[in-house]
């Protein structure tokens, strides 16, 4: 805005006839000067991310694309960092203060954080080469990379001072992570991630158990690195920006693995020191307010291209907000969020949480503001069109009511049994369009569709073995077997050679679950691409890195970001079956220990149910919300009075 031209000339008003002029006067007029002349023009703003410092915030050309005028706005790697960090630090300063809570060894933690950040820039150099024309990993006279490190140094120095007097109030502002995402424009990092990583590093000096886990974890990192067969230099992170790697090499694995552990440590530490003192009414209000802000900002971003740019830049969105009110693929509207599915889960969570707090506190009165906010959240849920979140909200709402208010054990469990039978039966009867036979093979068919197998011979009716469910014939075909992923190979073997004992085999089970919840295609793509060796199946390829999954095995789906659409499958890529089983056991123990606490039970199960069919844990804010929910047994303490 402020990087104005020195020229006394005025930028012409943009129209179809002078797009050429805009192409010849690049890097001269600022966005502010452009907007002054174009208050009534119709245009979109696209970012020219690799612009030089001089061209930051200046108009760098225009185009007529599909009869829509697009102007390019220069942004710069270094200046983006400074502007966005400054803005978010100002916002952070608004968190109320309390007495100081000293963090240990801050300076060493800052130094360690900076080393990790430097490693990140070196490891993802292709991503940064796309975002800066002068990016280089040669450290000799590299003012750009030193400036980046100094920016992070200044940020961490200021943040470390600010957090000590605010750390106990941070959790109140967790809901606002759905408004302020905190992803940098041209850096594959997130301010919240870096902040929690820093706090996590300080906990190493406080807790010996954290150091102990780190030692084992370093062993796991060594394992993940030794599993690299081919390095992959670039993966388009798209809507996962700031929370996933754009490269697959040893340095990127070291950065994302270590930083992920520290990030989790950091958040758990904040929960540990502050969650017990939390005022539930305040948190509830903040959840309602943030849900409402999400919806409001989504609407105004769709109305105006300039606001669309500003919300993207200053909220730190992973991708620009929806530019219209039209739904994605005809069924869901994501607004400012990268995923309609995850924000649908958030809206439903806010409504469920509101209900839960009311029941827990035995206080059903909401202020008129809260009623309005609740209605907006409900409308947001409808617009996101997350049917699963809506149904789970209804089921878990009823379940909570039964668990808390019905004293007779017999009636209570009868109702719960009815609830768990009623909804699936209604769904299968009225919404499911597949027969059991069809649904048990649909997943395999979808997997074969995206596999690189062109050599199959059709019969006289123009049908190939896949069409006739002769999958085993496909995988033993020498010409095509090398193009079949190991996971698909395993599923086909299980499908053909399992005992016929009226118990569905694993392939039929996954496929039959996937079909009615509309996941056959997505999970089919996953198994078509997921090609682990035994060791990577057991222990994964490292956290926040789906690059090897995406490009490690050639398939027909190699461009555009098609995610597994199940957080369970995503985390299986990261930590393997060992990680999934370990987490399930830990979760089971935690739930078992809180078995008489219906509030905790409901919230955790609400999340677990939705995570099976959504990618939410790949988004930083949803991941933190899940960690928060797992810690809620410290707030919702159930006893007879409650």
């Amino acid at each position: 805005m402020i990087n104005n031209s020195d020229s006394s000339d005025v930028i012409p008003q943009l129209n179809d006839n002078n797009v050429g002029n805009y192409q010849s006067i690049t890097c001269k007029y600022s966005l502010f000067e452009f907007l002054l002349q174009n208050t009534n023009s119709s245009f979109f703003i696209n970012l020219d991310k690799p612009a030089s410092i001089d061209c930051f915030s200046k108009i760098n050309g225009a185009d007529d694309i599909n009869e829509k005028l697009v102007v390019y706005l220069g942004t710069n790697l270094n200046i983006d960092l400074i502007v966005q960090v400054s803005f978010w630090l100002i916002l952070f300063s608004f968190i109320p203060k309390h007495e100081k809570y000293f963090l240990k060894n801050k300076n060493i933690s800052i130094l360690f954080s900076l080393v990790l950040i430097l490693l990140h820039y070196i490891s993802e150099n292709t991503f940064y080469s796309y975002n800066s024309k002068i990016f280089s990993t040669n450290l000799e006279e590299n003012f750009q990379i030193y400036s980046i490190i100094l920016t992070f140094f200044i940020f961490l120095k200021l943040f470390s001072q600010m957090i000590e007097s605010r750390v106990k109030n941070v959790l109140y502002f967790l809901p606002f992570l759905f408004v302020f995402y905190g992803s940098f424009n041209s850096t594959n990092l997130n301010i919240v991630y870096i902040s929690l990583m820093f706090i996590g590093i300080t906990t190493l000096f406080k807790y010996s158990k954290n150091r102990f886990v780190l030692i084992f974890y370093i062993g796991a990192i060594y394992f993940w690195i030794s599993g690299i067969k081919n390095t992959i230099t670039f993966f388009d992170v798209d809507k996962l920006k700031g929370f996933t790697s754009s490269a697959y090499n040893s340095n990127s694995l070291i950065f994302w693995s270590l930083s992920f552990l520290f990030f989790v440590y950091g958040f758990l530490y904040i929960c540990e020191i502050s969650i017990r003192e939390i005022d539930l009414f305040k948190v509830r209000f903040n959840f309602l307010l943030s849900g409402c802000l999400v919806f409001f900002l989504s609407v105004i971003s769709a109305l105006n291209p300039v606001i669309n740019f500003f919300t993207y830049y200053y909220l730190g969105l992973n991708k620009t907000a929806s530019k219209s009110f039209e739904s994605v693929a005809g069924n869901a509207w994501r607004g400012i969020n990268p995923s309609a599915e995850s924000i649908g889960e958030f809206f439903a969570f806010v409504i469920l949480f509101t209900l839960l707090v009311a029941i827990y506190k035995k206080n059903f009165s909401l202020s008129k503001y809260e009623v309005v906010l609740l209605l907006v959240n409900f409308f947001g849920l409808i617009r996101s069109n997350n049917f699963a979140a809506l149904i789970s909200l209804i089921i878990f709402g009823f379940l909570l009511f039964f668990l808390v208010y019905i004293k007779s054990q017999k009636i209570k469990y009868s109702l719960i049994f009815f609830l768990f039978i009623f909804f699936p039966v209604v769904y299968l009867l009225f919404f499911n369009t597949y027969s059991f036979e069809e649904s048990s093979t649909k997943l395999l068919k979808e997997s074969f569709v995206i596999s690189n197998i062109e050599e199959l011979k059709n019969n006289q009716y123009n049908q190939n073995p896949i069409y006739e469910d002769r999958f085993y014939e496909v995988i033993i075909n020498e010409e095509v077997s090398k193009n079949i992923s190991t996971s698909l190979n395993y599923l086909v073997n299980k499908y053909h050679f399992s005992e016929r004992n009226n118990i569905p085999n694993i392939t039929t089970l996954i496929s039959a679950v996937a079909a009615p919840i509309n996941r056959s295609e997505k999970w089919g793509i996953f198994f078509g691409k997921y090609n682990p060796s035994l060791s990577t199946f057991l222990f994964g390829t490292g956290p926040n890195n789906i690059v090897n999954y995406y490009f490690g095995h050639a398939s027909k789906v190699n461009d555009g970001l098609i995610l597994p659409h199940s957080s369970v499958l995503s985390f299986m890529i990261f930590f393997g079956i060992f990680g999934i089983v370990s987490f399930s056991v830990w979760c089971f123990i935690k739930l078992f220990n809180n078995r008489s606490n219906p509030y905790y039970f409901i919230l955790v199960f609400y999340f677990l149910t939705n995570l099976i069919k959504s990618d939410s844990l790949l988004y930083l804010n949803s991941f933190l919300l899940f960690l928060f929910v797992l810690n809620l047994n410290n707030i919702f303490i159930y006893n007879e009075e409650n």
Binding site: S24, A51, C55, I134
Partner: protein, 103 residues
């Protein structure tokens, strides 16, 4: 006249019609023996040498400049600015700690 053209290429009468030049694919810039060749750079550092005032004005109008070092200097200036800020923060921190120890 555009100030950049005046500064880089010098003054040479009325401003030509750049759009006309750009839209004519057969337009050839003729070298002017009285014009001292100037090397111009674009944003990514690509260099060209122009041999006439008209050619120079055309390129400068398209965003080319005569001093690429000037572009790199922004990075250097930013670095020193950030270095100064970092040192100031460290000094302030030390001062604060010393003050706290005293009282």
């Amino acid at each position: 006249m555009d100030t950049n053209i005046l500064t880089i290429c010098g003054d040479s009468g009325p401003m030509p019609d750049f759009e006309k030049i750009k839209s004519d694919p057969n337009f050839i810039f003729e070298a002017d023996p009285n014009f001292s060749p100037i090397t111009l750079f674009n944003e990514s550092g690509t260099a060209i040498t122009v041999n006439s005032w008209l050619e120079c004005a055309n390129y400068v109008n398209g965003g080319w400049v005569n001093n690429f070092v000037k572009i790199s200097n922004y990075e250097e200036l930013l670095f020193y600015g950030l270095l100064g800020t970092s040192l100031l923060l460290i000094v302030l921190n030390i001062y604060k700690k010393t003050k706290e120890k005293k009282f």
